[in-house]
Symmetry: C2
Subunit: 297 residues, 2 copies
Amino acid sequence: MALDPRRLLILRDVARAGSISAAARTLGWTQPAVSQHLARLERDAGAPLLLRGPGGVTPTEAGELLLRRADVVAAELHAAEEELAALTQLRAGRVRLVAFPSAAATLVPEAVGALAAAHPDVTVGLEEAEPPEALAAVASGDADLALVFGYDGPPAGLGPLVWQRLLDEAVHLVVPPGRRGPGRRGLAALAADDWIGGCVRCRTHLVECCEAAGFTPTVRHTTDDYVVVQALVARGLGVTVLPASALAAYRHPDVQVVPMASLGRRHVGLVHRPGADGVPATAALVAEVRRAARDTA
Amino acid sequence: MALDPRRLLILRDVARAGSISAAARTLGWTQPAVSQHLARLERDAGAPLLLRGPGGVTPTEAGELLLRRADVVAAELHAAEEELAALTQLRAGRVRLVAFPSAAATLVPEAVGALAAAHPDVTVGLEEAEPPEALAAVASGDADLALVFGYDGPPAGLGPLVWQRLLDEAVHLVVPPGRRGPGRRGLAALAADDWIGGCVRCRTHLVECCEAAGFTPTVRHTTDDYVVVQALVARGLGVTVLPASALAAYRHPDVQVVPMASLGRRHVGLVHRPGADGVPATAALVAEVRRAARDTA
DNA sequence: GAGAAGGCATAACCTGAGCTTGTGGCCCTC
DNA sequence: GAGGGCCACAAGCTCAGGTTATGCCTTCTC
């Protein structure tokens, strides 16, 4: 009783061709193949669909009925293939990207700009969020791609998500002008200083590094804006740490930058759901972000 | 690249069930079966359609696209099955019947009336036509069923059409009141009479019978109305032949009816295109006509 | 009318699509 | 860390769905 939609399309071909043999020729099949499909369809339908006459075949009332439906099915199928082709050829599509703020200011504009230039009909939605929220957005399906970072490895809480490393960068100590470096004592030399913290994740890393050096930092100021941070440091209001890319993007002329291995390295990467890198629009954006990362490295 | 509509429906089942395993359970299949169908569909589509996450699966942009189309396809299929069921259960349908005039006055009303009573939603279109035109109508597809007759066998020119014999009837000589019968001389005794002819086919048969008896009849009057014919005969305006059923339907009190084997027999039957007797509505009407013929015989 | 041509169905065969079972990996939950 | 749910992958087996071969039908042509 259940109709096979493929046979509906075959019925349509036969009706258009006017005979079973003619339909077989257009399908590149033999006549019995088509004949058997029709016989099966008629059995499933419970009524004759075509009357076999000399020189061809004419639909019955039931046949006409199915032909009307088959036309709709064929149209839907064709439209689906068209839309699908648009997606795979990047003539359509949408990517929802979540990125952490400093990336949004550097990598993202370059990548999104390049994608828009190459494929103007692919739309990119950008949202700023720190790694934990970004991961949640991707995991829940609210975003397709997240630009996130972690210290000394991928961020925690990846779950089933896929991590694609983009670049590692050093984390530097940033101190006011004229201030002497920490020397061999390392971070411990700054135990008494006021500290400027960034986002939650960065501050956590900062605190961990300090505690590894034997003290708990006094975090007096908090901002994740690396321009603001440097302005505060330049005025002597505190010390901080900044990843190399933030300093590459903007470097206040007065601050001192001190490389320190004990501050670890920041790992920047893309995160998406497994398989999402097969989605054409997402893959294209991933490629552009990777290119941008390679260019800035 | 060509999408298999069956897999589209499977995709739909999976999306509705929320996971491949759940869809497999509702389909009564195993999980790998569904998994393979999806893999093939994604290959044909050229893009991932579902992202596999923990606890189930969520459609991609391409997947959503196909799901919308699949909904339409499923709706069409369902509607087609509904309409088909209506046809096979005689809750809908149409039969176009062509019948020769005297049948239209006797068999047809009974049969069509019975069909209408049993299946009020099946519509019957009736048209009157003599056998040759009736056969042409069926052959060309303008009619589904024809009630026709032939003398001493099925009518000529059947071609590929199917003949279903309904009944045979005697053909009687009809002469004015008081007139002596033909006796052993047979038809030849009426060589000098005026004859009343019916339709073309009937007159042809009349002429053939007379010529077999050695003369060519003078056909003075022509009408295919058996009431009119008998009125003419009753007034002594001519002689004629009439099939038994015409005389059973109406018998003028004054005419004499003389059975004559040499007038042959008239064969009444149904004609349809091969396979048309499988069409539910047509089959139902055929059955009613046969019943009516059996009852009148 | 005999033959050729074109249509369809049927039968028998054979390959591969599409099921199955079995297994392993991954994630989450308890 | 044991258990359960999800998935993909691999290998096997069965039958759907092709094929070729054949026969019958009607129509057209000479």
